[in-house]
Amino acid sequence: MDSRIVNESYSDSTLDNEIADLERKLAIAKAKRPQQLTPHSHSSPTNSTPPLLASLHDTSFHFLLLLSDSALPLGSFAFSSGLESYLAHQKLVSRQPTSFASFLPLSISSYASTTLPFALAAHRDPASLATLDDAQDATIVCTVGRRASVAQGRALLGIWERSFAGTNTSIPGTGVMDGKGEGGEGQRQREGLEALRAFSALLKTSSSSTSTSTSTSTSTSTSTSPPSSTATAAAAHETTTCANDPLPPPAASAHLAPLFGAICRVVGLSLEQTAYIFLLGHVKALVSAAVRAGMFGPYQAQKTLASGTVQGLVSAMIEREWETNVEEAGQNVPVMDLWVGRHEVLYSKIFNS
C-alpha cells in the first residue's frame, strides 16, 4: 500500500520535470520563430502558448517519440537480458517457482547500476563517447552481455548514420539551424555530432584491424561444439603470437549505453528523458521477451508496463544512479552475471541473451 504512495510521488516528480522541460523547450522554440506559424496566437492574450502546441514544432519531442518507439530497429527483441536463463535455472537447477514479478525489479536494478551511468555520462559530455565506450567494454565481464550490448549499439549507430543524421534540417546543429543553437547547448550538440562522426570512423578502422582477435573470442564463446576442438582452434590461433600478450583490445566496440546518451543529446533530449527512455526501453524489451517466452499474454504485458511499480522503479533507479561516476558503476545483483553468462549452456534457446 505504501509503495503506491511512493510511486505516485515519483510519478509526480517525473511529471513536474517533464512539464518544466517542455516549458523550457517552448521558450526556446518561441525565441526561434517569434511571429511565424502561430495561427492560434490570437486566442491567447498573453504570450504563453499551451505546451502541447509548442511541442508540435519541437524537434526533440519528435525524436523522443522515435527513440522510445519499440519499432526502432535495434534488434532488442533478440535479447532477454538473462530472463530465459533465469527461467531455466530456477526450473532445472533450483527447482523453484519462477515469476516475472520477482525478476523484473532485479533486472532493472542490475541494468541501471551497470549501464545507466554510461548513458548519463555520454549525454553530459558527448565528446567523451569513445572513452566511455572503451571503459564500458572493460566492465561487461560476460560474453553474452557483451554480445547484446554491442549488437544493439551497432544497430543504433547504423540508424543514426543511415536515417537520422541525413535529416539535416530537423536536427539542431546539422543543417539550417546550425549556429542558432543558443550558447552552450548548441556547442554541446555540435561536439556530440563530431564525436559520433569520429567514433563511427574509429569503429570502422578498429573492427577491420582487429577482426582476427575478435573472431577467436567469439568462436570460443558461441561455439557449442565439444570443448577440445574449440580449445585447440583457439590455441592454434594463439600460437602465432606464442607466449606473448594477446593483441590490445579494439579501440571501439559500440556499446549501446554511451551511444544512446550521445545521440539523445544531439537530438535535443534532456538528461531525464534520456535516462527514462533508456531504462524504459530495457523494461519494454524484457516484457516483450516474457510474452514470447510464454509467461503471459499481451494484456498482462501492457498492464505491467503501465503499472506504478515499473514507473516507480524506473524513477528510483534514475535517482539512484544520477550521480554515479562510470568508474563506480558495478553489478549489484551478482547472480544476474551468472544467469546471463550461463545463457550459453542452455540446451534450447529462443533468445541471444
Binding site: A88, V93, V141, T143, S221, D245, P249, N332
Partner: protein
C-alpha cells in the same frame, strides 16, 4: 564499545611489498613494511622457491569498523609473488553506516613478472561497511592470477548478507609501451552489495542473492595464466547443456567408452557442482579470462576453485604449492 580490539587510529595502515629477481634466478624479498592494522609475514626459510610467499594478515584477525589499509605491491622484472591469507578476512561492524572500513591494494607487475593472489574470502559481519579497491598495472607479458570472493557472513550466528554495504572493485590495466601508448584499462570488475533498497519493490539483498552463500571472481591474465584461462573456457564450453536429456538406455550408457582421467575428474566435479548448486561462467574479456561463480557456502566454493586450479596445474607449477593453501 563491544569490540575486543583497540579503537583504530585515523592513520591508515600502510604496507609495502617489493619483490625482485635475485641473481641466482629465484625471486626474493627486497622490502617488506607494514603498519597497524596491517601485518605482513614472509617465511624466512621457505620450503619452495618458485615464488616469494607473503601472508596478508591483520592484527586481531580482522578489520575493525573504520580501519583503513593501503598496500602497495611491486613485483619487479621476472620475479614472482604469491599472496595468501590465514583464514577469512573478517570485517567487524561499523558503529554507523558512514564509518567505512577500507582496503586498497595497488599492484605494479613488471615485464615477465607474475602475481598470484589466492586469499581466503572476505567475511563481512552484520552491520559492517566495507570498500575494497584492487588495481593491477601490468607491463608487457606480466601475469596475474586473482581471486576475489566474499561470503554471506557468520552463518553460525544467522548472518546472511546482513552487512550494510560491501563494495569490491578490481581493475586490470595494461601499461603503455615506450611513451607512445597510454595505459589501457582492460577489465574493471565491480560488485556493489548494498542493503539499502532504492525502491520498496526491490527485493532485499538476501533475496536477490538467491540462496547463494559465497560469490567470487577469478581473473586471469598473461602468458603464465594462458593455459589456465583456456582450461576454464574449455570446461565452461564442456558444461552439460541445461535442459538436455540423455536418451540412451542404461545398457548403452554402461557400454560407453571408458573414461579418461580428465573425464572422470570432470564427471565428479559436475556432480559436486550439482550438489552444491555451484553456478559459474567464464568469458574472455579483452585478453583476460574472467570467471564468476556462486555457491551455497564457502567450502563448496573453495573445493570447486581448488579442484579447477589443481587439475590444470599451472598455478602450482609457476608459483609452487604454497600459493594454493587458501583454496585447498
Amino acid at each position: 564499545m563491544d569490540s575486543p580490539f583497540p579503537r583504530s587510529s585515523s592513520a591508515a595502515g600502510e604496507g609495502r611489498i617489493v619483490i625482485r629477481l635475485l641473481p641466482e634466478g629465484i625471486s626474493g624479498l627486497q622490502a617488506l613494511s607494514y603498519q597497524y592494522p596491517l601485518k605482513l609475514v614472509s617465511p624466512t626459510r621457505p620450503s619452495e622457491t618458485k615464488s616469494v610467499l607473503v601472508f596478508l594478515l591483520s592484527f586481531g584477525g580482522g578489520l575493525v569498523g573504520g580501519d583503513i589499509v593501503n598496500l602497495s605491491v611491486d613485483v619487479q622484472t621476472g620475479a614472482k609473488l604469491a599472496l595468501v591469507t590465514q583464514g577469512h578476512t573478517k570485517i567487524f561492524k561499523s558503529a554507523t553506516p558512514d564509518v567505512v572500513t577500507r582496503q586498497t591494494m595497488r599492484v605494479q607487475i613488471a615485464a615477465d613478472a607474475a602475481l598470484c593472489l589466492l586469499p581466503d574470502p572476505v567475511q563481512p559481519f552484520a552491520s559492517s561497511v566495507y570498500e575494497q579497491v584492487q588495481i593491477f598495472r601490468l607491463a608487457r607479458n606480466a601475469s596475474l592470477c586473482l581471486l576475489d570472493w566474499v561470503t554471506q557472513g557468520r552463518t553460525a550466528r544467522g548472518e546472511n548478507w546482513s552487512f550494510v554495504r560491501w563494495l569490491g572493485r578490481n581493475e586490470v590495466w595494461a601499461l603503455g609501451d615506450a611513451s607512445t601508448e597510454r595505459d589501457r584499462l582492460l577489465v574493471r570488475d565491480s560488485v556493489i552489495l548494498d542493503n539499502n533498497r532504492a525502491h520498496p519493490q526491490l527485493p532485499s539483498l538476501r533475496e536477490s542473492m538467491h540462496s547463494v552463500g559465497v560469490i567470487g571472481t577469478l581473473l586471469l591474465r598473461g602468458p603464465l595464466m594462458k593455459s589456465l584461462g583456456e582450461f576454464f573456457l574449455g570446461e565452461f564450453a564442456a558444461l552439460p547443456r541445461l535442459g538436455a536429456r540423455d536418451f540412451r538406455s542404461d545398457d548403452a550408457k554402461a557400454a560407453a567408452a571408458p573414461l579418461s582421467p580428465r573425464e572422470k575428474w570432470r564427471a565428479e566435479r559436475l556432480r559436486m557442482e550439482r550438489e552444491n548448486k555451484l553456478l559459474w561462467s567464464a568469458a574472455n574479456v579483452r585478453g583476460c579470462v574472467v570467471v564468476k561463480f556462486g555457491a551455497l557456502d564457502v567450502e563448496a566454493g573453495r573445493s570447486w576453485v581448488g579442484s579447477m586450479l589443481l587439475e590444470e596445474g599451472s598455478v602450482s607449477r609457476h608459483f609452487g604449492d604454497h600459493s594454493l593453501m587458501c583454496v585447498r
